[in-house]
Amino acid sequence: MKNRNRHTAKLAPQGVTRRDFLRMGGGCMAMSQTALLSTLVNMSMTRSALAAVPAEGYKAMVCLFLHGGNDSFNMLIPNDDAAYNDYVAARGNLAHARADLLGITDAADGRQYGLHASMPELAALYNDGKLSFVNNVGSLIEPVNAANYRNGAQLPLGLFSHSDQQRHWQTSVPQSRTQITGWAGRMADYLNDSVNQNPVISMNLAIDHLNILQTGDSIVPYVVDDRNGAEVLTGYGGNGAFNRILTQSTDSLLSETYSNLLKSGLAQTQRRSIDAAVGYNTATNAVNLTTVFPDTSIGRALHQVAKAIGAHGPLQQSRQMFLVERGGFDNHDGLLTVHPMLLSEISQALKAFHDALVELGCLDDVVTFTISDFARTLNSNGNGSDHAWGGNQIVMGGGLQGGRMYGHFPDSLAPGNPLDIGRGRLIPTTSVDEFNAELAMWFGVPNDGTLVDILPNIRNFVASDVTAPLGMLL
């Protein structure tokens, strides 16, 4: 039923622009003609691939989802004298000593910050202009302030609840609990056919888990394992009688003609599952990185992502959107011991990922960003913090102007500050929608009705003549 060994993919070479690229046999600016095409086995490509790389070239998004609510006001700490004192007043026994902080400066306005001591790699990237933070961002339906918070503003459902706030970041529809598509899924519904010539592997790729973020009306994320890549059919094509029976019986059963459309649909799905996994692994295993990744949850996941980015040519994808998830941030207890280990893992893994993107020659083509349910109460519960709202996110790459801050870091974190709705829960001053709009527009979504389809509340924050809501990815 399927032509499993057909080599149909033809990519339009656009000229090799980097020496590294030749050495690597892959890269972001163009495809090499022979090495990569020869890896194209078992991918039942049917569509013409001539449009595989649109004029605007390759871009990827990598979302690192920090599950549980990253205490991001202990990751990025205000470090001007008054602001640090306010921080200490708010955080009490959770405050980090000033001497331990890694000093960084906002090049735009001169404000001083301290990055947590466990993130020296990120401090260096920030100072090198490669990395930035978007501050006090959170889910909103419409702009909220202290006055309308208690009097009439439409508020996201289930504020301070994990399940709700996680869903809100993913759907960008915080007024609904019944939204079943995510904003990146809807974006892929819009983009996929023009940027992805791969009939079996979605432009939305997830490490280990299906998720709402990347699920659209017609798009389902392609899920791969952090260590092993795609789930191949074990033993298929292998040696030994059992594997030979498996291989032949699979091929035989999947090539029967089924008049029952459910049966033929299932046979097609199974055939694709087998072929897609082989195709994905063949393409990604051909990407050999010299960059060493830490053997941590995030490190392994980003290593897999880097390989898929390096293989985007043979995968015939000129847009890729990745989701990496890491749990463990719900630090009601033991914040000061657990949280630094997690921050260190983020920092080391992002540094390796940065280096791998440099090695692939595509740092500016890939934007990497964190999201998290919420930041946490500035106020201590004894030895941890509880669920709050606005928080700070890391953004790297994509050609951003790093070394400066985006959004607005609160002027003061002192208890009772104008954003504080109790216990140091801060009203976000930048909405998730603005954050997402910046990413989507950078990715090629026009700021018109399409953006509104993807982010239904966006007009409460961003007018139709704005080109970069945060001014970050220009």
Binding site: R150, N151, G152, L157, G158, S161, H162, S163, R177, T178, I180, V200, I201, L210, I212, S218, V220, Y222, V223, V224, A230, E231, V232, L233, T234, G235, A241, F242, R244, I245, L246, Q248, S249, T250, S252, L253, L254, E256, Y258, S259, N260, L261, L262, K263, S264, G265, L266, A267, Q268, T269, Q270, R272, S273, I274, A276, A277
Partner: protein, 599 residues
């Protein structure tokens, strides 16, 4: 699309029968004698029925029901089986979960080291794999996919004891599941009441601590909407046949409710809070129905469906009961629930006749009672469209019995969880788990489906999911409501999931056991669930006979001859070793489209 007549399959014009049966290619079995023919026919009918009504049959189950079919005839035997099931005591999961925890040597269900999810999963698997009350378990599983909750709710995974009850919070969702089990053979209206007042649903759809309007706040509309959309009447007005009614002028479906109805129902569901706590207090109690704080309940008049008005000043519980009565009485509820249940038990696209007959048994069980699930279940399982779409024909010349289904409109892709459970049950699972439980645990990575793990209130898949491909343009017979075919289970059968399920089967079949791990008070340990392939292995010398045996066990005889013949050749060519041959055959059939899609 709606309201536009489509040409229907020509066969329906030709055949004056209620069911448009299009025999597809057949599987065939040699039956040299009349006796063998009668026996095989009974076995096939038993195997297929038990696939509908249980988590899958063992050889012994098939033999036992086949005896009854031979003795009484098909329908009387099946009805007797159902009646026997109605009489069995329920096997409940929460007491078993607690027993498992205690057997594992923990002094308390909230002791350090007790996993909050393991025993919920293990109690579910152990029960569906071993409990005699299979129909009740199947019905609860079906209901859990309509009245959906999941483990993704605030406090559902908390390893703390509830102040009011002393029960572990993380077993609250099991308490909810047991409530479904308790109502499985009861009445829809009682179930709807129990669902609406269950605190787990209160959290999941946020009507716990939902206060009447104040100067600045409005009641939460979540439950007010979903109790209509998902649990009772659905989005559009339906005929008794399940067809969507259409506005003749605009051609548009007629909505069952508007935003005003949602607001009315939202106001009905105000004032509920945890038992043993004050209104607004987050003192969780997942084990007792929510109770009413009258001063937080909206006491103004509310207009509901069909002109029903709840008078001002009524008590909160009177409001809720009257509102649920209003939904129960709605003409949509019978056909809406009928279709969802048929999809879980029999087929993805029940015909208009089938939905109508089940809706009528919902409306009246024959004794004037509305909403009786026993009557609904009997109609679903014994309807001609459940039984007669399965064709057994004796070919006298060749002395073979031919088995065929009725094609696309009479099929469903079996849910992964049911496929896996049926596989295990087919091979008499035993275990060296320290306490003897079939503690299968969390299989969601492999199956893309697992109890308590729906991502949202819309279940694992939508009842109206249409996968990309030919099904979207298929021209249906006019028996199909609104000429549209659905295949919900394809929503979780992704290009990733297909290999994962196949790999799970492969690993288990290759070793004839499921390799698992568990933990008790002394620490972690590995154990196995062993599968008995001896019956198949004994037939390995004769590949066609081996495959026919497995065809009966795993595919209800529906693996078609051409496929079977090719598999027999492959088996004979590749090995003479009976173990490898039988296991290769089992694995092939487990993933064969003829077997995974039920006709």
């Amino acid at each position: 699309m709606l309201g536009r007549a489509r040409p229907w399959a020509a066969c329906c014009l030709m055949l004056l029968i209620s069911v448009c049966a299009v025999p597809s290619q057949a599987g065939s079995f040699p039956v040299p004698t009349r006796q063998e023919q009668s026996r095989l026919q009974a076995e096939l009918q038993a195997a297929r029925f038990l696939t509908h009504a249980t988590f899958g049959p063992s050889s012994a189950d098939i033999q036992s029901l086949a005896n009854q079919i031979e003795k009484l005839g098909q329908v009387p035997a099946l009805e007797a089986w159902i009646d026997e099931q109605f009489g069995l005591p329920g096997s409940y999961h929460e007491p078993l979960a607690k027993q498992m925890i205690s057997d594992a040597g923990y002094t308390s269900p909230v002791a350090d080291g007790v996993s909050t999810s393991r025993y919920r999963d293990d109690a579910w698997w152990h029960t569906v794999l071993t409990a005699p009350d299979q129909l009740r378990q199947r019905m609860a599983w079906a209901l859990s996919q309509i009245f959906v909750i999941s483990q993704h709710g605030d406090g559902f995974n908390s390893r703390a004891l509830e102040d009011a009850t002393g029960e572990p919070m993380y077993l609250g969702i099991v308490h909810y599941y047991d409530m479904l089990l308790g109502n499985a053979f009861g009445n829809y209206r009682s179930l709807l009441g129990d669902v609406s007042l269950h605190p787990v649903m209160g959290v999941f759809l946020s009507h716990v601590n939902n206060a009447k309007a104040t100067a600045t706040t409005e009641p939460d509309e979540n439950y007010g909407r979903e109790v209509q959309q998902l649990f009772s009447i659905g989005l559009y007005e339906l005929k008794e046949t399940g067809e969507i009614k259409v506005n003749k002028k605009t051609g548009e479906p007629i909505p069952t409710y508007d935003n005003e109805d949602i607001r009315s129902f939202a106001r009905v569901f105000t004032g509920l809070h945890y038992a043993g706590a004050n209104f607004g207090q987050n003192r969780r109690n997942f084990h007792a129905p929510m109770v009413m704080a009258e001063d937080k309940h909206d006491t103004e008049a509310k207009t509901l469906h069909n002109g029903t008005v709840l008078p001002a000043g009524q008590s909160g519980m009177d409001d809720i009961n009257a509102a649920l009565d209003n939904l129960f009485a709605h003409a949509n509820t019978g056909p809406f629930i009928a279709r969802l249940l048929i999809q879980r038990f029999i087929k993805s696209n029940p015909s208009k006749n089938y939905i109508r007959d089940v809706a009528r048994s919902f409306a009246d069980n024959g004794a004037g009672v509305r909403g009786d699930f026993r009557s609904v279940l009997k109609t679903i399982l014994l309807h001609t469209e459940a039984l007669d779409t399965y064709n057994l024909r004796l070919m006298k010349k060749t002395k073979t019995l031919e088995v065929s289904g009725s094609g696309t409109e009479h099929s469903r892709l079996q849910e992964p969880v049911l496929r896996y459970a049926a596989f295990l049950r087919a091979f008499n699972p035993t275990t060296d788990h320290r306490q003897g439980y079939l503690a299968i645990g969390d299989m969601s990575r492999w199956l893309n489906q697992q109890v308590y793990r729906a991502h949202h209130v819309f279940n694992f898949y939508l009842p109206n999911h249409v996968p990309a491909g030919e099904l979207q343009t298929y021209r249906t017979s006019r028996q199909v409501p609104n000429y549209q075919l659905y295949a919900p289970e394809f929503e979780i059968m992704t290009s990733v999931a297909a290999n994962r399920i196949a790999n799970r089967f492969r690993s288990d079949v290759q070793d004839a056991d499921v390799d698992l791990s568990s933990r008790d008070a002394t620490g972690s340990y590995g154990f196995d669930v062993f599968l008995d392939f001896s019956e198949a292995e004994a037939l390995a010398g004769d590949p066609p006979a081996l495959l026919r045996h497995l065809n009966l066990m795993l595919c209800r005889g529906l693996l078609e001859d051409p496929a079977l013949e090719k598999l027999a050749v492959i088996l004979a060519q590749e090995t003479a070793d009976p173990t490898t041959r039988s296991r290769g055959a089992i694995l092939a059939l487990l993933t064969a489209p003829d077997c995974a899609v039920h006709e």
